[in-house]
Assembly symmetry: C2
Homo-oligomer: 480 residues x 2
């Protein structure tokens, strides 16, 4: 065990726990602490530093949460074998980066109206049964009782400062997003963010590239102002930059889901990320990075956002609380390059002035008081178990009838149907049995026919038992 050099500055504007976090993180990234190395116990480090144990616990918690440290039951805390930031250093030009899957993302699901409801397989639904209802209700009630006139009057179109500060801190720490608080705007979710970006960035003569397949609602948002939405195929590494280049000029922006391609579930490789950033820089195009459910990954640790790798301020980063908390909250955020900030704020004001204040206040409390980080951490195990149950059920009841494309991350997985089955027809038959799936074909431009036939199966909102039972029913339907 090394003695750590962790200079603390009590007059700093950064709290002690943040300084401990920063010091440990730096020591790990600079190699002063090596993968597999054991770190001091929180009690020992607190004594060394002459501080209480609380800030040390907070710092360890965050580092465990982000994957810098890992705990082994009964034997202490260790530096992780693989460090999340390793992709942040671009490989030398020409070198092929390891084709390892990184991070993931999704966003507002297509919501075919006839397949609504909260049945098993419902897309984009978090584990509402595991949400900390009592804590949330207490925070909301407290803020509702305390509402001051300023909280009831007109709010800032950019969002409540306290919430923007908390979001910026979270994004910097957990998603390696590089941002100042001023760049963070609070909006009504990722749909609203995409719609807003379309208004600010796209004229009616412009083209905007979108991953094919992709979310029909996002496609509608991007084309809402008359821009031509150009479908660009996604391969195993992510959106095809070669295809983007072939589309030539006037592609003003490209919408991508690098961490978890929506809907197929693949992750963009490091090489593809760099090629995409390079394309955007050369063309002067914008990248809309929708990084929604990036917090959940089951095969390796979450990796940084595309935004954090971007040296030229071409990325507009979009996220939402719909899937880490719950959709009816209607709070998301957008991180914009400083040069675009005022145009985004003005457009947002023209749309709907500002977001409701009460939820922004309660949410800022929820983040600041640590409930958010705790909830995220707890949900990781919950979703992994649900995903495993779904995979087990599919293998047991549906083998030979469908193929799972990717189940590494997020709250849903995509499967391809064998034998020329019409997925929209299948979804209707599933709905009749109480199952709420989404057909894959509606995610292709034109809405079906041309695209692949498959199912998007959400597993976030259903218990393991319910998912196992649902796959049994799905097996019967496929059999029939």
């Amino acid at each position: 065990m090394t003695t750590l050099h962790l200079p603390l500055d009590r007059s700093s504007e950064h709290p002690i726990h943040r300084q401990i976090y920063d010091g440990l993180r730096r020591a790990i990234l600079e190699g002063r602490l090596s993968p597999g190395q054991r770190v001091p116990s929180t009690r020992a480090l607190a004594e060394d530093l002459g501080v209480s144990r609380l800030p040390v616990l907070t710092a360890y918690d965050q580092l465990l949460h982000e994957g810098y440290l890992e705990g082994r039951t009964g034997s202490g805390t260790f530096v992780s074998g693989a460090i999340p930031d390793d992709l942040l250093t671009p490989p030398p030009p020409g070198a092929r980066a390891p084709a390892r899957r990184v991070g993931r993302v999704t966003h507002s699901a297509p919501r075919p109206r006839d397949e609504g409801g909260l049945g098993p397989f419902r897309m984009s639904l978090p584990a509402l049964d595991r949400f900390p209802h009592a804590i949330w209700a207490r925070l909301v009630a407290r803020r509702a009782r305390m509402l001051r006139p300023a909280d009831m009057a007109y709010g800032d179109p950019a969002g409540l400062v306290a919430l923007r500060v908390a979001v910026a801190e979270h994004l910097r720490a957990a998603r390696t997003v590089r941002c100042e608080v001023e760049q963070v705007l609070i909006v009504s979710g990722s749909q609203a963010a995409a719609r807003l970006a379309a208004t600010v960035l796209l004229g009616s003569d412009d083209r905007v590239a979108m991953e094919e397949p992709g979310s029909p609602l996002i496609r509608a948002a991007l084309g809402a102002e008359g821009a031509d939405v150009v479908p660009i195929p996604v391969d195993e590494e992510g959106i095809s930059v070669a295809a983007l280049q072939r589309r030539g000029i006037r592609v003003r922006a490209a919408y991508v889901t690098p961490s978890h391609q929506y809907p197929l579930g693949t992750s963009m490789t490091a090489a593809r990320r760099l090629a995409l950033l390079d394309w955007a820089h050369r063309e002067g195009a914008w990248l809309l990075e929708d990084d929604y459910d990036s917090e959940y990954r089951y095969v390796s640790r979450p990796l940084g956002a595309l935004q954090g790798m971007d040296a030229h301020e071409r990325v507009i980063y979009i996220g939402t609380f719909s899937k880490v908390l719950f959709p009816a909250l209607r709070v998301g955020y957008i991180v914009v390059p400083s040069a675009l900030r005022q145009r985004f704020v003005d457009a947002r004001e023209t749309f709907d002035l500002f977001s409701p204040t009460l939820y922004q206040l309660a949410l800022a409390d929820f983040l600041r008081e640590g409930h958010f980080a705790r909830h995220l951490r707890r949900m990781r195990g919950v979703y992994r178990a649900r995903r495993d149950a779904l995979l087990t059920g599919l293998a047991r009841h549906c083998a030979g009838r469908l193929t799972v494309i990717n189940a590494d991350a997020g709250l849903h997985l995509a499967v391809l149907l064998e034998g020329g089955l019409d997925d929209r027809d299948l979804v209707r038959r599933m709905a009749a049995r109480g199952l709420t799936a989404t057909p894959l074909s509606i995610c292709y431009t034109g809405g079906g026919g041309g695209g692949r036939s498959g199912l998007l199966l959400g597993f976030g909102g259903s218990t393991e038992r319910r998912l196992l039972e649902a796959t049994r029913v799905l097996g019967q339907i496929l059999e029939a």
Copy 2:
């Protein structure tokens, strides 16, 4: 005193109080009860009908609220001298309707960013000090504790049915809006409603007419999709239909504030309303009626909405809770012709999916449990007193330096400045003394210079004492 024929049907889906209300209202409108006539006491009528006194009180309450009945202290309840619905029967063609001022409306104020804050004269601000905080906090807390999974998941883009039912009932009864529940959509306020209407109704080659002067933010919303916003002057009777006609073809829609012109405060006469409806019908154009603060009128009773006079489904009716409750709620509504409904719902979904559920639930409770009607009624006296205080203060401290244009309705009044004063400069000097006024000139196309120099003085958000003091300070500034 007549014996009233009020047949009650206990098996009806309408509650007893509603049947009593309907029966009395019909008797008044059909002339079976005449203006000035005394109606039975609630106790006597309850006995006559063989019901408890509660439903009779509820019905009388509503009729008093809407101006069908009036109470004279110590002498009972009487049919009002002037009946709100008298404009609903159009005058015979050619006949000139009385130039009486009717109803009023306003909406999201221009919010010049440098003059923010909650100082006296802040526009569009209700009496937050008189809001029933405890009741509201209780309803919100109750709903937050009770949130079911369905309330946390994805909601209906059209809005929560319970709230739409309550809004439709309110609009039918209080604003003579003709609508089915299906036509009511819940949105984030009147700004969002105008922005949504622009997306649905206007292409980039279209023209949209807007009252001149008008709200800069609404002007931005109407032009956001590339439509050409054509300013149409407002005279003493309202928007100039002659000027509209001169603009020729391709005016797809006209945005109007018939009940309370924003910002000047005039009300559209009945004759002008009929001419405008006639124009829209002939041209196949849409009328966007923004009917925000129509609940408050000080010189005569509120009159019906333009929408209720329209026989051809040309009116899109917009309202908001921002000014009757509080702006940070972010809940408004839009009533659309049935033929347009699906397009509005689809566009709304593309914008931001749906409105946060919790506030919709709490607001539905607030309306259903009668708190809303009570609050509206109480505020009428509060705002009248505040308006009177402002008028008194202006007469006392600013006489000869400015002219009040109109103070009949709403939460603000407009004044014109004498002697060529620059209103934007004056507003800056007022801000330095803690006063939050809005310059009138920014409401003209181009944002100043060409328009009239004046001030928009909000009185809703300040107490009488504060308004009197503020006018004294304004007098000193004008003197300097």
